[in-house]
Amino acid sequence: MTKYQQLRELLLGDERRALQRQQAQIDALSDAHADLAQQLPALIEAAEQGPAKPALHQALSPVVAAALDDSVRRAPQRIVDALFPIIGPAIRKAIAEALRGFVLDINRAMEMSFTPRGLRWRLESWRSGVPFAQVVLKHTLSYRIDHLFLIEREAGILLYRYSAPELPDLDADAIAGMLTAIGDFVRDSVQAPGGGSLASATVGEHLLLVREGPQATLAAFVRGVPPAALHERLSQKLEDLHRGAAGVPGFDWPIEAARALDVTAALVVRGEEQRAPMPKWPWIVLALFLAIGFSWLIWQRIEQGRERAQLQSIVAAEPGWRLIALDRNGVWQLQLLRDPDARSVAHLEKQFGGPVEVDEIAFLSLDDMPIARRAERTLAIPATASVRVERGVLALSGEVDSAWAERYLPLASAIAGVRDVDTRALRIGPTARERLQALAEELNRRALVFPRGSADVDADQRSALVAEVRRLVELAQSLDVRIAATVTGHSDEGGSERRNRLLRAERAQILHDSLRAAGVGADQIVIAVDNPQALAPKATMHWEIR
């Protein structure tokens, strides 16, 4: 060591050593900083595993958030590029879910369009005015959740279970485990990119819906046809649970799940129970009513046919009637041509045995019976004569007087429908007045004959006279002619005057009484003045027609 060096050592030795120590520290620090970049990941990892984990999170959280925020502001494209592989599948998955539900609904509606059930729903839509699609949805949304399991994602342990009350018990823990195993098996078998999983399966009448979350899986056994909204609802409930669990140490999954999913189950079950199958008896009753109604209609048709034929037969058989129209509107209605001289339509109702409405139109019939009635009416046929028409030939028979014949016979051939008149059987006699006159004259020539000197008369003789006088009285009454008789009693030759006078009076009185017995009024009989010159054993009468 030179003196200079010794001197420098004496003067600056301590400072130089201190300087060297500081330099060494600086170098060591530099070396340490240089290694920090390599050691930092390991340090953070160690902190993440150790008790400093919460402190590390707390320290890094604002820094990471601020850095992310700053990065989004300054270079948004980088964030977009970074998220692109995640956002794309997420959007596609969401769209696919929505489309799947939509297509399911459309398919369902299309399937229902041409089935008997679909036609029934179309009728309901038409009747209620509700669009067909809504009617289809209303019916097809009928479903029920029979079992709902919330399962721990990793271990497959059952966290919560809901089962419809009336269903038989099942080993839910084993099922939860198997569901998890099968889900893992499917995922492992398919090895779908992006972590595909079992989302649904059909098991008999059940549809199994599975929604997976990071910590728990929700599995629902649904009976019926659930709407797409149920998928979303289950997903939403699962997300709500995970949101509640995030950042909450000791999150009680069973309790929270019971709170959240009980509501879901209740909402799903309430008001959407499978409709009980419709009992058969209404259909049987309906079929019975239809059968009765159908039979009644057939019977009505047969009965109406029978009644129609009966009415046509009655009308056809009745002379002077012609049927124009026959219809039934609650009651039988006939439009009828009827000759005024044919029978009344009251006869039709009586013969048919039920009510009928008849619209009559008058006409002249050429049937024999109306012609005969017309002839009777027109010719004033007397009771002693009669008419008969056969094929338009008017045959007169019986007895008529000459006055009638003189007045009516010329009219006979002019009666509508009469083609010829046959009078061969008609007898034309005197008039009634002539017969009255003749009878009166005949009686004027008759007398009651007594035995000589007696006023006793033979009963047979008296009866015969009474009968004759009665004919006269009746004929006079029919002609409305007044008749009167003068009765004269006669005496026999010889005998005393007194005796003869008495005998004349007695004989006149007996004849008077006989006339009275024949119906002659007392004011119509006059006993003639006693005439002693009239000598004969009888009593006579003289009739006058006034």
């Binding site: 823990d173 084993a174 198997m178 492992d188």
Partner: protein, 166 residues
């Protein structure tokens, strides 16, 4: 609802796992799942002295090592049950290898070892010395699926141990 714990049965093929499960639990699912899905899950409630615990038993199809699907199946298990065929020493090594493999997947979970086919003890290859040595580190039971001997005790022990853990 009692507390549920997931138990996985591991062991080589034909060691009698399914028979042990059948002896212990009520069968809900068919054994065909073992050949199709590779696992069958059953459950059984075990009554301990102070509580009841429901064991959800995952019976994994017998294999000498865990494949990726089996690793998925054992996730979240609260306990393991290693099953060995006493008549085949190789099955003991397979069980221990399976246990070792599962350690990467699971944290320190309670384990019970079942040396099965006690009813054929005269043909056992697994020595008593080995069993005694194993018993020092893991509860070991000699069982028979045929007679049911030791089965209940093994499951109850495992149930006790898994409930002791949080």
């Amino acid at each position: 609802m009692s507390e549920a714990r997931k138990i996985c049965l591991l062991g080589d093929f034909a060691v009698g796992k399914s028979s042990l499960v059948a002896r212990f639990v009520r069968n809900t699912f068919s054994d065909k799942y073992l050949t199709t899905v590779g696992v069958k899950v059953d459950s059984k409630e075990v009554r301990l002295t102070d509580r009841a615990v429901k064991l959800v038993v995952w019976d994994l199809a017998g294999k000498a090592e865990l494949d990726s699907l089996n690793k998925t199946y054992i996730r979240g298990a609260h306990g393991l049950m290693l099953v060995v065929d006493g008549t085949r020493e190789a099955s003991l090594r397979a069980a221990l290898y399976l246990w070792m493999q599962s350690q990467k997947q699971l944290a320190q979970v309670p384990v019970v070892l079942m040396i099965n086919k006690l009813d054929m003890i005269d043909r056992w290859e697994v020595s008593s010395a080995d069993i005694a040595r194993l018993s020092e580190s893991v509860p070991t039971f000699r069982t028979s699926a045929l007679s049911g001997e030791g089965v209940e005790a093994a499951f109850t022990t495992l149930a006790q141990r898994v409930t002791e853990r949080p």
